[in-house]
Symmetry: C2
Subunit: 309 residues, 2 copies
């Protein structure tokens, strides 16, 4: 059984795929308790040692908004020297960008919202104002020669406004590209997207797959199927969190991001070489689950580490 998943020769896209690990940021910001800085640093080191090369390490949000990540400077400082790694950090505004730059960030990520309600609830401003704010952050990041990524949150559905149509999302993606984002990640923040919906949005954005990523949560079990659709459509960067860490306080359940291990199982099955050791990564997630006091929701983690379901 150690040999699974064996790639099926000659099938599926074997192109290079970037697994964009969001556990230390999107995962830990959703934890009720504050994880010790040393644990966060060890987590990033272990993710890197397992072979992950793109890890979003923290967020420079005001500590009063997200006390879980108040140690952003210390965490980034402790991991910034990792070799051969892309270590983006989230920045919500100019002040956050300035903090990130001082701490040595070489890539930042900005967030906008496809819905007015989520912008108000989560970004503390209106939908349009959030875009303008992100554009200002991106302009300053470009001045400093710092790479940038964009997120469109609630790109598929929202707890208040329901289903989000592609026409609500596309102009935001285009503005983020114009403002300097190399890639924009389409966020299924509450996990309500289905493969049909992902396919529909990607059809509208066809031709720009290389400049897109997909960010899914697994609230309704759809995250991997959605990632498969994105991959099939040509998207080459997929967000995931080790062990399925994370969640969204506005979703009905606490189910987290797509688990990195489950994504890797699929990618390895189609011959995509990621350089990540699944057993090492699963062991890391099991270790973190022990620290957090609850089992990982990742099927692969449970299967490989003997966790109960």
């Amino acid at each position: 059984m150690e040999t699974f998943p064996e790639p099926h020769p000659g099938t599926g896209p074997a192109a290079e795929v970037t697994v964009y690990e969001v556990g230390p940021r999107d995962g830990l910001q959703a934890e009720e308790t504050v994880v010790p800085t040393a644990t966060k640093v060890e987590l990033v080191h272990r993710l890197h040692a397992a072979g992950l090369r793109t890890v979003e390490v923290t967020s420079f949000v005001p500590p009063r908004w997200v006390p879980q990540l108040a140690d952003a400077e210390e965490v980034l400082g402790a991991v910034a020297g990792l070799p051969d790694a892309r270590l983006p950090v989230l920045v919500p505004n100019i002040r956050g960008l300035e903090r990130a730059l001082s701490a040595g960030a070489r890539e930042v990520a900005v967030v906008v919202s496809a819905t007015e309600a989520f912008a108000r609830a989560n970004l503390g401003t209106g939908r349009e104002e959030a875009v303008v704010r992100a554009e200002a952050v991106l302009a300053l990041a470009a001045e400093h020669g710092v790479a940038a990524r964009g997120y469109v949150s609630m790109a598929f559905g929202d707890p208040w406004e329901g289903r989000v149509a592609p026409r609500q999302v596309v102009p935001l993606v285009e503005r983020l590209w114009t403002a300097g984002c190399a890639r924009v990640s389409l966020g299924d923040t509450i996990g309500v997207a289905t493969p049909a919906h992902v396919r529909a949005l990607l059809t509208v954005l066809a031709g720009s797959e290389e400049r897109l990523a997909l960010h899914g949560h697994d609230t309704y079990g759809q995250a991997l199927a959605n990632a498969a659709v994105a991959l099939e459509a040509g998207v080459r960067e997929l967000d995931a969190s080790a062990g399925g860490l994370g969640g969204c306080p506005y979703a009905r359940s606490a189910t987290g991001n797509l688990a990195t291990e489950d994504l890797l199982w699929m990618l390895h099955g189609q011959g995509v070489s990621t350089g990540v050791s699944l057993p090492d990564l699963a062991a890391t997630s099991a270790w973190l689950a022990g620290r957090l006091g609850r089992p990982s929701p990742s099927r692969v983690v449970r299967a490989l580490t003997g966790g109960s379901s």
Copy 2:
């Protein structure tokens, strides 16, 4: 949130899809404890009331092999009168078929194995002998005018023999069709298949999608993504178990079948009308989880019923 998943208009296959519910059989046979007959009967009634119309209700295996299903006659007898329902039962041999016929079965299912090792361990005979036995059962079923379905177990991988190549599977599928199976379900018995592997096997069987089904377990989180690939390829019957019940004693973890609720969420999202009430089905799975003393692994069940992860 009650309105999710809303179908995305004009996208994806909106064709008719049969959700082939296997919980009462494949799910309950994997339970360590024996579920009371009355609970099984209530389960099938509740599944039917929630809108499921194809439910594999039990297996006429020798009680000494699977004591969990020793009450096959009573269960089938108590549900056989359900209106507008297809209620297949598994039959491992001629004796099982005779018992099923006496109990009023109108559809039976037979099992063969793609690997020698699983045939020996689970079917109690050799791989070829199991096919010959199934052919004899199917011949007698045809004489009685009873519909038949086939399963090819371990159609993707096996704990002893590793990855199973499509060329090992295709001849078995063809023999089952020839022997009278209207549909053959490709069994990912231990949940190791990936979308690439499913696509590869379905490519070899292209043109016969209407005579195939997919039977996935979610051991490594791939089951829904695999089902999405099958659906995209034209397969119109998908096996699932309510609440993700079930497992395989030979797999490394106890993770069960693809959860019916997670499959329905995806199908409803692409406009497939299944007639099933997701809230009613999730409530049924939550009720059964309470009887079994552990939470359902289905993400949808947890999200809709407030179960913890």
